[in-house]
Every structure is written in C-alpha cells, then in structure tokens.
C-alpha cells in the first residue's frame, strides 16, 4: 500500500495512510535512545555471569578486579540489602504456584547460564569488562535439567530442591464434558506439537542509566513498562514512589522482552545510590540471548475429536511449559493465554486446556510477541488440517463448518469467554479472492510431475488482546496483581494546538501518528498540530504498559474519551459566544458552529483563547482546556483474519522457500492502514522466523549454543518474501473507536500457515506432520524417514528423540502426559 499524504483539510484523518510523524527524526539519526544518553560523571557497569547451568558457588574472589585502575566497586549478592526480590505478578486464586525468590544476583547457587553473579562498576565501559574477567568465581557443578519432560519424571534432578519437584503449577481452563466428547467422536486425532523457544531480539538491546542524586532516583530505561517499574523499584529500594522517575525515551523495539523488571536496572539503581554516581549498563547481544527472557517453549499434547462430517466435538490440550529456572514478571501466566483462545475461531462444545509449568536450568520464558496465542493458533490450525486430512475433507470446509457464524456475536465460547465481534467466513472469503485454490491445485499437480513440490497452508486465526478489563484479569479475576486500564491527559493550548499525554508508550509502533489522527478529527485540527508525549513517569499520566496489543484499544480509547470531554467543553464555550444551546453546536470544517449555520463559528484556537484568557466563558466554568480519563475496558477485543502461505520445498536439500504469503486481517476500522501494514508485515516475519529459522537452543549440559546472531538464525529482509495484505473491518462494540489490536496479529497467525503449507507440499513423499523450526536439515531428514531411508541424526532438534509424528485415529498415539506415567 502506497502512502499518500492527504491534502490538508481532508474530511477525516482517521483511516488515512499517513506517514509516521516520528520517522523523520528516527531515520535521520535524531532519535533519542537510552544508550545515546550521557549523564555527567556516570560510571559503567558490567555483569559477571555464570558459565554453568547449575552449580554451587564455592567462592567469589573480587580482589583482583577491585584493584584494577578505573574500577570503583565490585558487588555480589552478599553486598545487596534489597527489601524484596524481583516481582512475579500472578497470584491465581486457588492455584498453587511454586515461586522461587528471584534476586538480581545469584546467592549460593547458579541455576542457568548467564545468571548474574557479580557486578563491576568503573570509569569506562572497557575497564569494567576487563575487570569482570578478573572476578574469580569457583563453581561446584550440580546436576542439570534441560528437557522439560524429563524434568517431570520421578527422580529427575531438581532445579529448586526445596520444592521437591520441578513442576511449577497446573492450571486448567475448560468447558463442557471431555469424556462425552470422546464418546461422541467418530474420529480422533492426536499430535505432539512442539512450540520451541525463541528470542524477542529487538535491534536495541536492554540499556539503563540509574542516576540517584539528592534522594531522587532517575532511571532511563529501555522499557515497555516505565510506570510499573517505578512501583516495583520503590518497594525493592524502600523508596517513596514519588522520588523515583522512570523515563523510557525512544525505545528501539520491544516485542515483549522489555515488559519485565530485570536485575540489571535494579543493580544499577542500588549501586548509584551506594556510590553516589550515575551508573550505565548496556546489554551486549550475547547477554541478550542468555539473560533476557525467551518466549514460547511449550510442548502441546493435543487431541481433537470430530464427527465424520467434520463437526468438531471436542479439543483437549495439555501444555508442558518450560519456564526456566526463575520467573520474571509474568512467566507462569503466559500459557494461560493459550487457554483463553483454545477454541480458536470455532464453535467447539467441549474444551480443556491444562498448562503444566516446569523448572529447567535455563533463562526464564515470558511474554514475547503474541505471548501464548501464537502457540494456540499453531496447535489449533495444525490440528484442523491434520483432522481434515484424516477425514478426507478439504481443510477449508472443516473450517467453514465449525466457524462461529457472524450472527452469533457477541459469542460466548465453551470456556466462558465472550468474543466481541467477528466475521470468520467473510475473512476467509476475502482471502480466497486473492488465492485461486483450484488453480493452485492444478499447478501443484503439474509441478509435482516435474519434481517440484509446492504446497498451500492456511491459518484462520483469532486472538484476545486489548488488555484488559481489570475485573477479568485483576486480583479478583485471573489473578494478576494490577488493574489494566489506561489513563491519558489531553491539553489544548491557548493557540489551538494540542498535546496528548499518554500512559501507554510506543516502542516502534507509530502511536504518535495514530493518536494524533484520532485527536485531530475530534478537535477539527490537523495531526501535525497534535504532539504526543509518553514514557516519563515524572511528567505523564499513569500507564500500565505497552503490550498485549492494548495501546490503541485501551490507551487510544482513553485519549478519545479525554478529547471528547474537551469537545464538550469547547461546545459550551462556543454556545456561550454564539448565543446558542450547547447541544446545537457541531464541529464542521474546523469550526464549532450552530447546526445549520456553518459560516458563523469559532475555531478551536478561538475557543481555546477564550478558555485561557478567561473571557467570553460561561459563568462558573473553570479556565483552561484540558481533560483526563482513566479508561478500563468492559471486555477484551478479538482481532481475527485468514492467512494463506504457498511454499516450495527443495526436496533434495530440505530448503523451504515462501512463494506467496497472503494475509487478510481484521482489527476493526483502520486508524492508519500504513501502520497496520507495518505491524502485519513485521508480525508475519516474526512468525516466519519461528517457523523456518529461529530457535534458542540449549545443549544437554544446559549450555546456550545460540548466543549470537551467527547461531541464532534471525532472518533479515533478504530471507523473507514481500507479503500481500488486505483487510476486512468488523468494528468492536467494546470501544468507541471500534478498534482492536494489531501489534501481535501477524505473529499469532503465521506459523501454522507456513508449516501446513510445507506438509501439503510433502504429502506425496509421505510426510504428514512436521514440528518447527523447519530447518533444511530437519525437513530433509523427515523426507528421508518418510521415504524409509532412515535419516542420520538431526543435531538441530533438541534431544533427538523428540517424536515428530502423532497418530491418526488408527495409529499408535504419542506418549500423552496422561498415559505416559511420567507425569
């Protein structure tokens, strides 16, 4: 979609593909990121990290490091006097979660490679890295647990012996009667679906500058969550919250990994207070791979039952969730999101989802783009196509047969969640206007005859976002220890331009532009007259962070409501001046005028002038033109769409090429189609990354072997195709804008379309199921196995014994957690 700057005075700004307001600054190198910033007199910090996956610390000798020139201090856990450990914010009613205390430096044992053991601060960033190498730590290795399924076996080595088990929790959501479902089913398909561990990998790693002076702490931080970080640090450092200011300036990508509260910013703040100098820490890429949270890492045992006509009767999933050794902010909560959307786009009367969390000697997992919903879409959409094959039906027919029909919305699914709006048939129909399936099937046959293997795969996806109604997810609901509203202040200045103060802050999404378009329409001005401020707890309103595709649906609605209050006040001022009733005032062509008399009216600048000079105002009205709103949504929002992927597999080498990728998405009425396209393109690329390239890999000793971008195969623009995108627009009834989130949509949708497509390509060769990532060697080895040629070992797959094939109703089932005896 080509962006066109609309002529000034265009009827509405909302819906226009405006170029991003923030881009001229960003692309000319004038962005202001944390690492760009220099605080006079600041010191640098380096972290000494564990090379061991599990070991007792027998001694730490800091003397050599401390004596080096330029070094101001070396600190270990023994030096810290923090009031509380790092937070984990989920306390689900009635569910026990074994929660280890998570301190910023290891106390007696290290439990994963990359865990902080000591920190060095000094004059420059070179000196501290050199000194960190001189900190001598003696380790006494302990047994390591890497495979989450083996971790649950009797007699497994324990990550936290005090718990007596590696199982963190068991959390279930469901509805209906599974036993009845299986009895009623004529076909049952079971698969073991591995959703492997990945990294968020923003281009900007984590960075902080903590500056404690005069009893005030200012923390510059690469954060998606500055307001909550302030709250947490107030507790840990025993400081009054008002004395802490957290500033997240331009943030160079987050993808979820900057939601959490990490050890390094707490250490920098504690040390800054201790030594009386500002302290800066900049994460290296290798540290990012080892010591910033990872995403996904579920093994999903899935069972789906259906009638012969394709009607799905029940779906059950038990997810073995590898949480690593410690929790960050939301670690054990993330798989719950898989449960919230376990019904997908389908009317399934009997559902069960159980998450079993597992400790292993790895870095924590937590939210990365999609957080639990990509896992759900993957398992559901894989199972739909596996089931269709088992039934001998077209997979799109199975989908259509089970879609929740448009007229059912708002639709309550069996687990009790109410989807706000949707048109799943319409989305798929629109996709098929771009993809001629019959023509593809003919072409597919012709190409196969020439030894060329192409396939098509689909993903008709939905998700839950716009976090969130506080009553649903807060302490009395699902059990997160926070509310999930957003707040905003909108101020119209005396000269008639406006500043939006937003609690939620972007880290690349283009919110400055989208928010300005909304406000400009409401006030009858242009988006370039609307400045958007965010990310500073010292100057902005409270916000609960930027994640869960919530900024527009919750933050944007809050801003629209604040602006609406200003419009009401402006109408009263205009009515007073025009000697009319406020209800007779309307905003036409940038003027507040009496209905039917558009020529005579007041511009926003004239209204604001009256409000600030305090003349020509209704009696008793407060001066100024400013309003604030705390907006707590009544429900989540539920975006959806239909994606198709066509791949070609080089069957001699196993290499997969994406030939076409077509995406039809629905996030309600578009505020800015260009921003939506940007999110969809990036989101799909994240999905392509997981499906074909990326994987965080720990070896059997718990050593991280993907510690750089050489080994961790993050795709670049050269490795992905250009995507074809289209939209449908089904408004949400939840907010006045009708909008739903879009930041995670592409990622949530993409992986099953790609994997289904490769399976479709390879069915003639006997390949009927595949787990990700579809590395060339993995695909080749699966072809070899299917052809009875017994492929050599596949070092790219963790614990080579991970079974690839589940069963159809006639086959032997996978070792399911319920019958394996291991759990």
């Amino acid at each position: 979609m080509t962006a066109v700057e609309p002529a000034p005075g265009a009827e509405k700004w909302v819906g226009q593909a405006l170029r991003r307001k923030e881009d001229p600054r960003m692309i000319t190198g004038r962005g202001r990121y944390v690492d760009d910033q220099v605080v006079p007199g600041m010191l640098y910090m380096a972290v000494v990290r564990s090379p061991e996956a599990h070991a007792k610390i027998t001694s730490i000798d800091t003397s050599a490091a401390a004596g080096l020139p330029g070094v101001h201090g070396v600190f270990t856990a023994a030096d810290l006097d923090l009031a509380s450990p790092l937070p984990m914010a989920w306390v689900p009613p009635g569910v026990e979660i074994k929660t280890p205390e998570h301190w910023p430096l290891a106390k007696d044992e290290v439990k994963y490679v990359g865990q902080g053991v000591a920190v060095v601060v000094g004059e420059d960033k070179y000196a501290v890295v050199d000194a960190a190498e001189q900190v001598i730590v003696d380790y006494d290795p302990l047994p390591v647990v890497v495979d989450p399924e083996k971790a649950l076996e009797d007699g497994a080595n324990l990550v936290h012996p005090e718990f007596g088990t590696n199982q963190v929790h068991e959390w279930t959501i469901g509805g209906g009667d599974m036993d009845a479902a299986w009895a009623e089913s004529e076909v049952i398909v079971e698969r073991r679906i591995v959703n492997h561990r990945t990294a968020g990998a923003p281009i900007e790693p984590r960075v902080c500058i903590a500056d404690y002076r005069g009893d005030q702490l200012t923390l510059h931080l690469t954060s998606q969550n500055p307001h909550l970080i302030r709250l947490f640090m107030a507790g840990e450092l025993e400081m009054s919250e008002d004395r802490i200011r957290v500033i997240a300036p331009d943030v160079g990508g987050g993808f979820g990994v900057k939601i959490s509260h990490f050890p390094e910013e707490l250490l920098a703040a504690w040390i800054s207070r201790k030594v009386g100098r500002a302290v800066k820490w900049t994460e290296t890429r290798t540290e990012h791979m080892s010591s910033t949270i990872h995403g996904r890492d579920q093994i999903d045992y899935v069972k789906v039952g259906a009638k012969r006509d394709g009607t799905i009767v029940g779906l059950d999933c038990t997810a073995i969730c590898d949480f690593g050794a410690y929790f960050t902010l939301l670690t054990p909560f993330i798989p719950s999101f898989t449960g919230f959307v376990i019904s997908g786009c389908y009317k399934i009367p009997n559902l069960n989802f159980t998450a079993r969390g597992v400790f292993t000697n790895k870095m924590a997992t937590d939210a990365t783009r999609g957080a639990g919903r990509p896992e759900a879409t993957h398992l559901i959409e894989m199972m739909i196509e596996q089931l269709a094959h088992e039934l001998g039906m077209d997979s799109l027919e199975v989908r259509r047969k089970n879609f929740i029909p448009k007229e059912d919305f708002p639709a309550e699914v069996a687990i009790g969640i109410v989807y706000d709006s949707g048109d799943y048939h319409g989305s798929l129909d629109k996709l098929l206007t771009h993809v001629d399936l019959d023509a593809f099937r003919r072409e597919q046959e012709e190409l196969r005859a020439k030894g060329v293997y192409r396939g098509i795969g689909f993903s008709t996806w939905m998700e839950i976002c716009g976090l969130a109604p506080s009553r649903a997810v807060g302490p009395a609901g699902v059990g997160l220890q926070a509310g999930f509203y957003e707040s905003s202040t909108v101020r119209v200045h005396a000269s008639g331009s406006a500043t939006v103060y937003s609690g939620t802050a972007p880290h690349g999404q283009g919110l400055d532009t989208a928010f300005a378009q909304i406000v400009a329409d409401q006030l009858g001005i242009t988006p370039d007259m609307v400045d958007v401020m965010h990310g500073d707890t010292g100057t902005g309103p409270f916000g609960l962070g930027t994640y869960g595709s919530r900024s527009l649906a919750v933050g944007g609605e809050s801003i629209a409501r604040s602006t609406g209050k200003l419009v009401d006040k402006a109408k009263q001022i205009a009515a007073h001046n025009l000697e009319a009733a406020p209800e007779d005032i309307e905003l036409v062509d940038g003027k507040f005028s009496v209905k039917g008399s558009p020529d005579k009216g007041l511009t926003l600048a004239e209204v604001a002038g009256a409000a600030y000079v305090t003349m020509d105002m209704p009696d008793g009205m407060e001066p100024g033109l400013e309003a604030s709103t705390f907006y707590d949504p009544e429900n989540f929002v539920f975006p959806f769409g239909a994606h198709a992927c066509i791949t070609e597999v080089d069957v001699e080498t196993g290499k997969v090429d994406i030939v076409r990728y077509v995406a039809v998405d629905d996030c309600g009425p578009a505020i800015n189609p260009k921003l939506i396209d940007g999110q969809i393109h990036g989101g799909i690329t994240h999905g392509v990354g997981q499906a074909l390239y990326e994987r965080i890999h720990y070896d059997d000793d718990g050593q991280l072997v993907t510690g750089t971008f050489v080994d961790y195969a993050l795709p670049s623009a050269a490795d992905v195709p250009s995507y074809e995108t289209d939209r449908t627009e089904t408004p949400s009834p939840v907010n006045s804008l009708g909008v739903k989130g879009v930041g995670e949509a592409g990622t949530i949708a993409a992986t099953p379309a790609i994997v289904n497509s490769v399976i479709d390509a390879l069915r003639p060769l006997g390949v009927d199921f595949l787990n990700m990532p579809l590395s060339p060697q993995h695909v080749w080895s699966q072809i070899e196995l299917a052809q009875g040629r017994g492929a050599p070992g596949d070092p790219g797959k963790q614990g080579g014994s991970w079974g690839e094939h589940g069963s159809g109703s006639a086959g032997s089932g996978p070792t399911s957690p319920s019958e394996g005896g291991a759990l």
Partner: protein, 280 residues
C-alpha cells in the same frame, strides 16, 4: 561487545607493516577489512595486542589482467571482484559473500589469510590452482593454493609476513557454476561447491576443477569427481554419477544446523548442480 585492550598502528608501506609485525611479536595481527577479525575480538575469542592496519598501505588493491592471468591486490574488496565480471567464477562467488556491508569492507587477501574453511573464496582459489604472493623480512615468495591452507584458521602465510597479491589463471573458455547452501542469505556456507569445466570440441569434459567449501577444516578439491568426469560426456547422467563421489575424502565438521552426513549429502547435490551450470 567490547574487545580486550590493543594497540593500533597504520603503516604507510608494506615494509613498515612488516616492521610493526616484528616489533609487535606473536600477538600482533594484520587488519585488512576486519570482518572476520573484529567480531572475534569483540567476542574476546581473539585478543591481539597490536593491530597493524593495512588500510593506509598504497598499491595493495586493484585487479589487473596480465600474462594470461589475473593479479588481484590483497586489499581488493569483495565488491570490486564482484563488479569485475570478467573474473568469471571468482566474481560470481564474490557477489554471494555475506551482505553488501561486508562485501564493501571485506578483502580477498584478508579472507584467504584468515583461512576460515566456511569462507567462499578459499576453495575457489584451490579450484583455479591459483596462488598468493607474500612478503616477509627476507623478500617475496609465492605460495600455491594447494600449499596455502594448512588447518582450521591456519595458512602457510607466516606471522611475520604480509599477503600482498592473489594470482589466478584466466581459465578462458571454462564454464563455471557456484552453489552455496546456507540457512540465511548472509550466513557462511554450510557447504558450497564451485565448479569450473572446459569442454572439448566433441562436448566431453576436457578439464574440470571443483572446490568444496566447509567440508573439512580446510577447503578441498573434489578430486574423485574430477577424475570420474574428465574425458566423459557432460550430460546429466554422467554429471550425476560423478557427483555421487563429491564427499569422498571429506571430513565435514558438524554443527547445530548440519550433521556430517547431511553435509556429505549436500556436497553431492550441490556438486551436481554446480557441474550442471558449468557444463551448460
């Protein structure tokens, strides 16, 4: 990513560079394009105490045709070779190296002297039966490609020598093909195969040279394939039959993305494809 402390000099001539190397001792290292050395230093896998930057030495870059061959200055960037399409196979290979940024900084001499068996041009130099010229304290010597690569990251270029020039025979009339397999465009080769084929008047194979990348700790020639194909027809069957021997005598290092067996398989497939291109 912060390297250990090092000193840096930028000599103005090869002689000055040699003097700096001698003074720097065994932990001195030459810096050419830096796209192999600097990442190793940032990861602290290499920690030279002195970098001798060849960037200020005049006369070390350029490509010229002379006496039936090519003379390529050691500091010639990959992108310059990519643009000199008359180089044939070596030019095609240069255009596949990593990404545009690397091709604009990385040099042919640096790549060859570094001796990474996953780098593209090493096996190509072998296939060309080219050579390099090095200068040391006692003068200049020429090292044939077959003698150059001794082990993983180890070449016959001495610590006190500077590689100044690369020499390739022109191989006019040879067809060529290059097939590199990697997961991402910018990755080092998992396996790569370069083939040079000269057809006789009757269409049979008069000469063939095949270089294998990343199939051992050093680049290799696929000599079994070459022997099998020489004098034979260049049709698909005969190429396929010969290519089956591509993994003979290789010891491919396994890694996260490829087992040794998979690499042997890839070598056979890619040899077939490279030969087909070269014979076309």
């Amino acid at each position: 990513m912060i390297p250990a402390e090092f000193d840096y000099v930028r000599p103005g001539s090869v002689d000055e560079a040699l003097a700096a190397l001698r003074e720097g001792g065994e932990d001195a290292k030459l810096l050419a394009g830096g796209h192999s050395l600097l990442p190793l230093m940032k990861l602290r896998l290499a920690a030279p105490t002195l970098l001798v930057d060849l960037g200020g030495v005049p006369g070390l870059s350029g490509i010229e045709r002379a006496n039936g061959g090519w003379r390529i200055g050691a500091m010639t960037r990959h992108v310059a070779m990519e643009r000199e399409t008359a180089l044939g196979l070596a030019s095609k290979v240069a255009g596949t190296i990593a990404d545009p940024q690397v091709r604009h900084r990385g040099t042919i001499g640096g790549s060859l002297a570094h001796g990474d068996p996953a780098s593209d041009q090493l096996a190509i130099l072998l296939a060309y039966e080219g050579s390099v010229v090095v200068r040391g304290g006692s003068g200049e010597r020429e090292i044939a490609a077959a003698e150059l690569f001794q082990d993983y990251l180890t070449t016959a270029v001495g610590d006190d020598e500077v590689l100044t020039e690369v020499r390739l025979p022109a191989l006019d009339g040879y067809g060529f093909g290059y097939h590199k397999f990697n997961r991402r465009q910018e990755d080092w080769a998992m396996v790569a195969v370069g083939a040079l084929v000269k057809k006789a008047a009757d269409g049979t194979c008069e000469d063939v040279r095949i270089g294998l990348t990343h199939m051992s700790s050093v680049p290799l020639r696929a000599t079994a394939v070459e022997q099998a194909l020489r004098g034979q027809p260049l049709d698909a069957n005969s190429i396929a039959a010969a290519a089956e021997q591509a993994a003979e005598g290789t010891e491919p290092p396994a890694d996260l993305n490829a087992s040794a067996d998979y690499k042997r398989h890839l070598a056979r497939v890619l040899t077939k494809r490279a030969l087909a291109d070269a014979a076309a």
